[in-house]
């Protein structure tokens, strides 16, 4: 099996996890989670230099990842568990009383893999900048990654951080935007248009890359390219085109499933489209 085939199999399983976790919790955010499944799978199973069994908050000697759009927690939790950060069975506790898998991610619950709370949007890029700066100060050559929603870019703090990262030449940072053009109230274009997004980031002083986020080969290619662009005095942003709900036909390409979960009949239909490749939790 090739690397790509292997990753695609994992991506199918984590999509299953997302459907099952959110359906079971009767709440959560499956749409954006499904769209980012390929990217997060590639990141955690192929790209990141990390030791899940030796997770530390300070991330010394490892790559670090920050999920700024915390509402897609189900896909992150699934990828974290499947890559060895915590027992896969714990996915069944998602959003339930006493769980470490809170609705939105937090390190307060002591969940391995999470370094800061996220959910209130716009904050993760600043935190990632701080962590990347610390790596530079400490002489740690590892990289810092972050993921953001496209709607999240409507938050002003993102652009504060964008100016900051370029101004401070934070070139050990690779940030990605999940550009699915969907948010709760409609398309991003119709709510508050991002305009010429590539030109915005370029003018803020970032190296801009483009990725087809639901094409595993392209995800690997662009993440590889992004790594090769680090260390050149500029932060790197990947504008990642995805489809919300990718992988389940009736959930694809709409914002309807942003924060809505499948009922039992829909869950069955969805799971029929997602092969159980690694064994359900």
């Amino acid at each position: 099996m090739t690397t790509i085939q292997n990753l695609e199999q994992i991506a199918t399983q984590v999509r299953r996890d997302v459907i099952r976790m959110t359906a079971d919790a009767l709440s959560g955010h499956p749409g954006g989670s499904l769209g980012c499944a390929d990217f997060l799978t590639a990141l955690y199973f192929e790209i990141l230099q990390h030791k899940p069994e030796r997770f530390t908050i300070d991330g010394r000697g490892q790559d670090m990842f920050f999920l700024s759009n915390g509402h897609i927690s189900p896909i992150w939790y699934s990828v974290l568990a499947r890559s060895g950060y915590f027992p896969v069975n714990e996915l069944s506790t998602f959003r339930k009383l006493g769980s470490r898998l809170q609705g939105h991610p937090t390190n307060a619950s002591g969940l391995s893999g999470v370094r800061v709370a996220s959910g209130s949007l716009g904050q993760g890029l600043s935190v990632a900048c701080g962590a990347a700066l610390a790596k530079k100060i400490n002489g740690d050559p590892h990289l810092v990654y972050s993921l953001h929603g496209d709607g999240e870019l409507q938050e002003g703090q993102i652009w504060e951080a964008a100016m900051f990262a370029a101004s401070k030449k934070i070139d050990n940072l690779i940030s990605t935007v999940d550009w699915n053009n969907q948010q709760i109230d409609g398309t991003v274009d119709s709510v508050i248009s991002l305009g010429n997004l590539a030109a915005k980031w370029e003018s803020f002083g970032w190296t801009v890359l483009h990725m087809q986020g639901n094409d595993m080969a392209d995800v690997l290619r662009e993440l590889g390219k992004a790594k090769s662009m680090t260390g050149k005095a500029k932060p790197v942003i990947i504008l990642m085109k995805t489809e919300m709900g990718q992988g389940v036909d009736f959930m694809q390409g709409t914002n309807a499933w942003h924060g809505k979960v499948t009922n039992s009949e829909q869950t069955k239909r969805a799971l029929r489209q997602l092969e159980e490749t690694l064994g359900d939790y």
Binding site: D58, R115, A117, S120, S126, V127, C129, A134
Partner: protein, 320 residues
């Protein structure tokens, strides 16, 4: 006889922060200074000059500054994020709440120009809600020292403490009356004057005013106990209750809104543990305005005269 405090000079508490930060910075290379275009105003300039590699100019982007501080803190650094109290709390409440307090990261938010004594800039900059905002956050320690020496000592102490801290200090030049060699203990109140008639729980710039009030009241035969509550959270419950059991009457004084301030914390404690009449010297649900610090303290009733009046009111209630 009431213990007498003789000022050794006059200085601003923000300079105490600057001196403490410089000294702490020499002792611990993990300490980093973050500022938002107010480096000299908050007295971070000496640290920035001494440790240029550990100083991060964040520009007028306070939200980002708090996030960067959280990222540095989780990486093992001790970030000191400093700007005016208005921008260090009100402007960035959610950033502090999510990335610092809830995440329990070791960020020190050191805020200058707190309260009405910011003066001429007026109400937009005179935050008097910051103690309330910060004390409501779980994990957050809230400290409001009274003079230059205490602010310096507090600054050094908070660097040793692991966890989020809000340290509040101010702009005006005020008497220096606490020892320059003091060891600051977070959460341990300081009994400035022993007394038996009324307990005065006081914080920040008002401590000096309370000492003046004590002297005046002494001449009238009223013996007040002045306790400096430099740490508003965690509150020194033991020291407070011990004093209240003795005096059975309380006055609180602070350069802050009554809602959410020290007085409100003390009133809550008394209601739960030890009922006693209480009077509060604080700003009563009003915004500030432009003026000289001293003028404003008088207009808003944040002075020795008002502490004396409150003491007499509470004594009447006690003796009813």
């Amino acid at each position: 006889m009431t213990k007498k405090y003789i000022p050794t000079g006059n200085k601003d508490t923000r300079s105490g922060f600057g001196a403490g930060l410089l000294e702490a910075g020499k002792l611990n290379s993990n300490i980093m200074g973050l500022c938002a275009d107010l480096t000299d105003s908050v007295k971070m300039g000496d640290f920035a000059k001494a440790f240029p590699d550990r100083f991060i100019q964040c520009g007028i982007s306070e939200m980002n500054m708090i996030g960067v501080a959280a990222g540095l803190a989780l990486s093992g650094k001790i970030p000191v994020a400093s700007t005016f109290a208005m921008f260090a709390t009100g402007h960035v409440y959610d950033q502090i709440r999510q990335s610092v307090a809830y995440s329990n990261h070791n960020v020190k938010i050191c805020a200058s120009h707190a309260g009405i004594t910011l003066g001429e800039d007026g109400a937009t900059h005179q935050i008097m809600e910051d103690i309330g905002l910060m004390k409501m956050l779980p994990n957050m320690v809230v400290i409001n020292p009274c003079d230059y020496n205490q602010t310096k000592a507090a600054t050094m102490a908070v660097m040793e403490y692991v966890g989020p801290v809000y340290l509040r200090f101010g702009r005006p030049v005020v008497p220096v009356f606490t020892p320059d060699d003091q060891v600051f203990k977070i959460g341990t109140a300081i009994k400035m004057i022993e007394g038996s008639d009324v307990s005065i729980f006081v914080t920040g710039h008002l401590v000096w005013e309370a000492l003046q009030a004590a002297e005046k009241l002494e001449t009238e035969g009223i013996h007040i106990e002045v306790i400096n509550i430099h740490t508003i959270k965690p509150l020194d419950v033991v020291a407070i209750l011990k004093s209240v059991v003795k005096t059975r009457a309380v006055v609180t004084a602070e350069e802050h809104m009554r809602n959410g301030g020290l007085g409100d914390s003390i009133a809550q404690l008394l209601a739960l543990e030890q009922l006693a009449p209480i009077e509060m010297v604080a700003v009563d649900d009003k915004f500030g305005e432009s003026g000289k610090p001293k003028e404003l303290m008088d207009v808003y009733g944040l002075n020795a005269e008002n502490i004396i009046a409150a003491t007499k009111r509470v004594l009447k209630r006690k003796n009813k």
